[in-house]
Assembly symmetry: C2
């Protein structure tokens, strides 16, 4: 039989960096392309201990979970949110299989195929792919070191009447930028004015190098979930352990309830085991101390990569030192295409994500994203050397 794929299936993107790397399996490729910190930074021992306690706990471990999530975990997560000035009740919280699923559910509840969603330029490639999958048209607003430029956002709102704004104002992929307080306030006011719900995506917010400099989230700035403008999503994928993919979202209880119903109707159960393990972990483990430690390690690794890059004396290559998160965003010489550079780099034994993937409409191809938290020491040094060699071959040619 010949199959006819749906238009949703046809919107799935061509092979990613990861797929391309499969082709080079067996070769020593140092990956700066990952989405998370290195595995050795996760609290494997504490997670295993928590899992052991869940199992020892007996029959309860086998209970199925509600679509909105394991109730005690939701209470604990609300406590963590409150500690960051984000007040939400358990009815305003849903636990998901990660932040991608949280955002998918919110988007599916609040927007139709064909609707526009306002995004930053550039923004997360995984979220862009999700929006494309759901038939949404991502409209990109200009952004600078302070975040989205409000005047450009307003112009696009008037032109495209977007149903949603998607924002990742703290160390968002790929740039690792932090939106200034002024911009946060302005963008929030703008969306309130035009009645556009904001999905605030904060997967890396905890990975802050200078905890004293933390800015309030958009959700905290607004100050209330019920009938609010902001829906906030985060996850433990970057701080606890990628296989415990628990994420969560908070916001208006009516919307959250609808998201839970949609999750249930689509059979997207979150693992009851995983949620109980997390709940035990939050009870018995100083997660905040661990997060400070992993964030500190990420900060050191950023400096390492920064210094290795400086040492290479790359001409016409620039970047900003981020204040948190996982990513360095490199601007390459004009005309150097990140995709072409990646193909050569994989042959040299290093990988990264080419910048074009982070744009909805008008890609800047001479940028690349490096994850600095996957490697340390000699591996970082070697990877940067290989990258510099690849860049050098290109610039020598032109």
């Amino acid at each position: 039989m010949e199959y006819r794929f749906s238009s949703m299936a046809s919107r799935l993107k061509p092979p990613s960096v990861r797929d391309r790397l499969k082709l080079s399996q067996g070769k020593d490729v140092i990956s700066f392309a990952d989405e998370w910190p290195a595995e050795e930074l996760f609290p494997a021992h504490a997670v295993r201990e928590a899992a052991g306690r869940v199992i020892a706990g007996g029959a309860g471990a086998l209970h199925g979970g509600a679509a909105e999530g394991y109730a005690p975990l939701r209470v604990q997560l609300c406590g963590r949110m409150a500690a960051r000035q984000m007040a939400a009740t358990p009815e305003q919280m849903i636990v998901t299989a990660g932040s991608q699923q949280a955002i998918d559910l919110l988007v599916s509840v609040l927007a139709e195929p064909g609707d526009a969603v306002l995004v930053e330029k550039p923004t997360s490639s995984a979220r862009l792919q999700l929006f494309a999958l759901r038939g949404l048209k991502a409209i990109e607003a200009e952004s600078d070191e302070q975040g989205i430029v409000p005047e450009d956002a307003e112009r696009l709102i008037l032109e495209h009447r977007p149903k949603l704004m998607y924002a990742s104002p703290t160390f968002g992929s790929p740039t690792g930028r932090v939106w200034s307080l002024e911009r946060r306030t302005k963008l929030l006011a703008l969306c309130k004015h035009y009645q556009i719900p904001i999905i605030e995506d904060d997967p890396y917010g905890d990975l802050v190098f200078e905890p004293n400099e933390r800015l309030p989230t958009l959700f905290a700035l607004e100050g209330g979930a019920e009938r609010g403008t902001v829906f906030y999503a985060s996850a433990f994928s970057g701080t606890v352990a990628p296989p415990l993919r628990a994420g969560w979202a908070i916001g208006d209880s009516g919307v959250i309830r609808m998201a839970a119903k949609m999750k249930q109707a689509a059979g997207q159960h979150s693992s009851a085991f995983d949620q109980q393990i997390l709940s035990r972990l939050l009870e018995n483990f100083d997660l905040d101390a661990h997060i400070r430690q992993i964030a500190g390690a990420c900060g050191e690794r950023m400096l390492e990569m920064h210094e290795q890059l400086l040492r290479q004396g790359l001409r016409d290559v620039s970047w900003q030192k981020p204040k948190g998160g996982l990513f360095l965003w490199l601007e390459l010489p004009d005309g150097l295409d990140g995709e072409a550079l990646l193909r050569l780099s994989i042959r040299k034994g290093v990988s990264f994500v080419p910048g074009g993937q982070f744009y909805a409409q008008h890609p800047r191809r001479n940028c690349i994203r490096l994850n600095f938290a996957c490697h340390a020491g000699e591996r970082t040094k070697l990877g940067v050397e290989r990258l510099a060699e690849a860049i050098g071959e290109f610039t020598a040619r032109s």
Copy 2:
């Protein structure tokens, strides 16, 4: 802010039986409305033991999983499929968070919103809700004790040109019927002829009371996954443990690969822990012996409920004794509405699923579905007595 919900959200159904039961919390309501056997029938001890082994196994337990599922588990599941004459390679297999998700992914890959899908009359309410959520129009073909009537199916194929056929030919909800071999063969030939992929849903197939009478699945009848007509989905939810919601689907590798990409793009990770626990369980536990045992218990409970119903001497109430699965499908006197009966029954302390929910287009309201495997002995007796009392009040009125 006022939110505008998407049309997908607005297609989510009104409160289910479970929601209505929440209102009677605290009261002793005997539920015949559940989707699974009673918890005490699951191998809780073996699952906990397997989980313990996974954790003791060390760091590997923390590895994230691929979208298509944990590779060793896929190999094991292929072995189990082969033992039932369903040959599939690991490339033709995807592990999901249960059969609902497996069917959602297949449907999303193979059909568009607005497309028609051919279903049995009546059929699973959860799957009907899923089709509605995805904007599919379910067209119901007449069915009798042998399964879907091929002539009616062909008439509807010519009239509606459905993109898919959804079939649950073995103990499917709500009737618990088994399609005859002749009907299986005819329906398969029909769909091959008109090039309509079949999604064969088999969540209860293992719960067979007379294992010697098992008929081949549609997938087995066709005899090959690649470019095949049939996609087969099943799950362990009814035999191992509801919280380990692992399900799986097999079929053409191109379609399965697309389903995995869609799962990944939508952030629907299956728990790596759960999959490893299942894999260990399949290694170290005689699952088939356990399944025979749980199926035997379900058979006994079916007989218990059957006899309790007979004992009530209900006039104009009829049912067939199923050969497997979990459900008795009761036809009530003409004009007795299952929804109205449910409201009264909950007050009497018993619940079930009213039949109207299992129809896509033309509900027969004088039917109800009873799960016979949730209770035994005195509880079953008491529940049936309460039900008979409720029915009696209605029939006395008319």
